[in-house]
């Protein structure tokens, strides 16, 4: 013990009368160890309260015990949900969570990511949308030997490197629900260009309309940016139409709520005059009045599984599920049209 400080592997080795390498084997659960030796060393470890030094291990292994969530400013609730999911997966382990935002529009974007990976050497990274569809990032991970898992709306990688939800199918069901309620003029508020998720959500929406024999009218498709304000704008345009829709599907909750508020500011009652459906199931959606019918996106679960794929043995990564279902949550904002 050298008197002071925390015990090191050397102290344990001396006390257990074995070499430090043997202690190292015990720490790393090496299979080639006699049961007797293992037990003896483990007893000493417990007794001395030995905890391996992560910095030393990181230096020797060239890998830190860190899971990094890499993002480009998704909304707050999404980010926090991801953090919660990752924490659930790594709780009780030696891993810790690092959160790192990047500006994908910056000229130094890739250099920034590379610098981060080379500096911090995280054990693995979770790529959040929309960064998860950036193939350059994935190439960067491969190049630096960093394990990665993408969180995405489509299966754009093999099972070991992706966690995805079935947004397309879920939105199709949500739209079918609107149609079954009697709506035939349904407006869509799209998500930002260049994102994968709105493509899928819009796709599901269109599939449902087509299947029901409802024409896809350009006037009912409005651009959006996943922001409250863009929902406001899109809704303003939709209700100003000569023949306005009786229902609106917004590609996320924030826009849906922007749309709801805009409708009400303009004297429309929800859902009596117009129905609204969102996507995400943020806490917000049950905190508005009337509460919002929406699609629940299993972010926490997706993040948890992503982290599990990263911290487990590489060959086991593909064994975790890669698809986690999004599901329709029926609340108050939908009713048959008048």
């Amino acid at each position: 013990m050298k008197g002071e400080g925390k015990p090191t592997i050397n102290d344990v080795a001396a006390a257990a009368k074995v070499s430090k390498k043997t202690v190292s084997r015990v720490i790393n659960k090496s299979p080639l160890l006699s049961e007797k030796t293992r037990e003896k060393v483990e007893a000493v470890i417990r007794e001395m309260g030995f905890v391996p030094n992560l910095q030393a291990r990181a230096l020797a292994l060239r890998r830190n015990f860190i899971i990094a969530a890499i993002h480009d400013n998704p909304n707050a609730q999404f980010l926090v949900n991801v953090q919660q999911g990752v924490m659930e997966a790594i709780a009780g382990s030696e891993f810790a969570l690092m959160v790192q935002p990047f500006d994908r529009n910056s000229a130094s974007f890739e250099d920034d990511v590379r610098a981060f990976l080379e500096r911090q050497r995280p054990h693995g990274v979770v790529l959040l949308p929309p960064l998860s569809s950036d193939e350059n990032l994935v190439a960067l991970c491969r190049e630096t030997g960093t394990r990665y898992v993408r969180m995405s709306s489509i299966k754009n990688d093999d099972a070991a490197h992706i966690v995805s939800s079935n947004d397309r199918e879920a939105v199709r069901q949500a739209t079918e629900y609107l149609i079954a309620s009697g709506h035939r003029r349904i407006g869509l508020i799209d998500g930002p260009v260049g994102f994968t998720s709105p493509q899928e959500r819009r796709g599901g929406f269109e599939e449902a309309l087509v299947a029901a024999g409802i024409p896809l009218l350009p006037e009912l498709f409005r651009p959006g940016a996943y922001t409250f304000e863009s929902g406001v704008e899109a809704a303003r345009d939709l209700i100003a139409l000569a023949d306005p829709p009786t229902a609106i599907f917004a590609c996320n909750d924030e826009m849906a709520i922007g749309a709801m508020i805009t409708c009400r500011r303009n004297g429309l009652r929800i859902p009596q005059d117009i129905s609204v459906v969102g996507f995400d199931d943020t806490p917000l959606s049950s905190h508005v009045w009337p509460s919002l019918t929406t699609v629940r996106w299993p972010i926490v679960e997706m993040a948890r599984v992503a982290a599990l794929k990263l911290i487990g043995p590489p060959e086991a990564a593909a064994e975790h599920p890669w698809l986690l279902p999004s599901t329709l949550v029926k609340r108050e904002s939908v009713t048959p049209p008048a």
Copy 2:
């Protein structure tokens, strides 16, 4: 260069024809170095693209280049704002941000925190409320030699270790604004017990009433828990009173919005029938209808300053401001009583 991989301090030393310690001095900006040597070494460093290995430094320095935000589940927006503030401070530096939740009600709470600090050895930690008022945590930081800064609503530490807002004063002003608008029966929805922030906010509220000669009526004080649901409950009780208030101050926005929705569900118009004021200025508050008059809490700025105190030289920590003002934001949810 040994052919492969990234250049190390040895490669630089060899190329510059100096000892590795001299290179180390250059990296660490040691003052005792001849200008000539410094320039020579810096040129070589640039040329070779040398980047010091953080893991090796961490091992030698017994400190990681990590700023950790330690929290116990504050709301999502708060947490994300803190992350943004810290990132602003450490952008371009070697530091990275780690986020670590703890359950302060767990029996192993202190052991968990200790294990985290001893394992990851962060350079410094930002303690978020309500954990920031836990003296045991601070003792733990001192014991493990971890620098810390508390984010708090009161000045419960010296200037080097705290960043605080003047919630009491800001709420006093907000309440004075209600009183100036003509309100004399004002309900208060409190924050959770054991938190410092609601004490301050309630304190400011009471000060304003007392200064205006308005009696403090127990029936107008309702418990809350900083959650939407608790705002709903409290508002339900308040408007059910024989002589209901004409205005409500809620200790945070989430409860204020819960209160707004409850009032409207019960046929009250906002602000014509009842005014509402919140605290936080979350994005939410401008996304409801009518938009919420509230107190802006400078979380991003507080977190940024907290991180600056941590990453700068210890003796400079006290020189950064410790007080960042909260300010009243007037929107649509307040009007004179009928």
